[in-house]
Structures are given as C-alpha cells and as structure tokens.
C-alpha cells in the first residue's frame, strides 16, 4: 500500500491533493424501512473489514510520516444502501461484500421476521459509515 501511495505521489503535480474515500468498519445498522420510519433489525458483522482498515491507516500514516503528504481535511458521513427486499439485500451482500462483511443468521432471521410484519411498502437499508480524508502532496523528505 505504501508503494502505491508513492506511485500516486509521483503522479500528482506539486501541491496536488490526494482524496482517500472508504467505508470504515462500524457494525453498520440494518433496518427495515416501512411506514416512513426505519426499524432496526440489528447490526451486521463487518469485523472482517477491520484488518483492511487498519492496514490502510498504517499505510497513510507511513506516507505522512515520510512527508509525502500532509493531512488537510477530514469528514465522516453515512452512506445508505437500499434494496427492495431482505432477499435482495442478502444476495447482494453475499455476492459483493465477501471478505468485508457477514450477515449473521440470527440477524437475517430478524430482518425477515420484521419484513413479514409489514404489509405495505417496505425496503431494506444498510447504512455504512464513510470517511473521506484529503492530503496535500509535499516535497519528499524521507524514504
């Protein structure tokens, strides 16, 4: 990862800006949306993502310590995924989030149970926690 950051440093012009956007593991809530409100089924297990998060943070800290970049701004915000049904959500998570999140069987059962309890229009939401940080390119001082 640090090597990749060095290559990006080279590709940036002097004074260029690096923008790092990614989800962070924070036990993202899973909700059923019905009757204009969100009913919490529980939180998904995103612990497999923690290792990647930590490795990315270490790489960035290393690049900052070596004075490739200087942090300039930081923001956190929610990022919603919304599906039409629990079955669609489950299929998507299994297919696309392998290695970063796991739907526990008890959570899935609660979600299906809540979904069955509403007869009107309903949808399913997982809210990721995102972090966006910017870094100014510095003249390289240490390698």
């Amino acid at each position: 990862m640090v090597h990749a950051l060095e290559r990006i440093w080279e590709a940036l012009r002097p004074g260029g800006l690096l923008v790092d956007v990614r989800p962070v593991a924070a036990r993202w809530p899973l909700e059923i949306l019905a009757d204009g409100q969100g009913i919490r089924a529980g939180r998904i297990d995103d612990s497999p993502n923690v290792v990647d998060d930590q490795a990315a943070d270490v790489a960035i800290r290393t690049a900052v310590r070596r004075r490739f970049f200087r942090p300039t701004a930081r923001a956190t915000f929610p990022f919603d995924y919304i599906w039409d049904s629990v079955a669609e959500m489950s299929e998507y998570v299994t297919t696309n989030w392998e290695g970063c999140a796991v739907l526990q069987s008890d959570l899935l059962a609660r979600a299906y149970s809540l979904e069955r309890g509403f007869h009107g229009e309903k949808r399913v939401r997982i809210t990721m926690r995102m972090i966006m940080r910017t870094y100014l390119k510095l003249e390289k001082r240490h390698v």
Partner: protein
C-alpha cells in the same frame, strides 16, 4: 433488483466540498464500474480512471456518456504500476481502494 446507493448524495457532496474537483485533472484509483466517476465527471477537466478488473472497467467504459468520453479515460492498471507521467494530475482519488 432495485438498488439505491447513497440516495442523499452525501459522498458526492463531500467529494466536491473537500476534494475540490472542479476543473481538476483527476486520477481515480479503483474506479470499478465508474459509480464514483460519474459523480464528478461533469466538473473535472479530465479523468484517468484505473482498475485491475477488466470486466468492471468494461462496464465503466460502456456506461460513459458521450459528453464525457473525450476527457475520461479508463485504464486496466493498479496503483503500484501506474502507466502515467510524473506530475500529471491535480487530484488523486482512492475510491474505496486503499
């Protein structure tokens, strides 16, 4: 399947607010199918978007609108082997990819 991602546009808002992408020459690392690329393509001067997955990259290329095609380039590459000149970009975005 109907899937909505970031319906409130939080990512787009912060990308523009703190990424300051207007008029910038942008390198996007990990563009995938171009989901994030389309959120700033209108304001960037030019974009080079890279991804190591050829299928996702092909989807990005196919869904690029005609208006952006002349200034948006998709490359099969990863960040450790960037086939790019030094000092070419004003912004580099790590799009869920670090």
């Amino acid at each position: 399947m109907t899937l909505e991602r970031d319906p409130h546009g939080n990512e787009t808002r912060f990308l523009h607010e703190i990424g300051r992408l207007s008029g910038a020459r942008v390198l996007e690392v990990g563009c995938g199918e171009g989901r994030m690329t389309w959120r700033y393509a209108e304001v960037a001067e030019s974009i080079v978007a890279i991804d190591p997955d050829p299928e996702r990259l092909a989807t990005a290329h196919q869904t690029c609108t005609a208006a952006w095609r002349h200034r948006t380039h998709f490359l099969l590459a990863d960040a450790e082997n960037l086939p790019l000149r030094r000092g070419e970009f004003d912004r580099a975005i790590l799009a869920w990819s670090l």
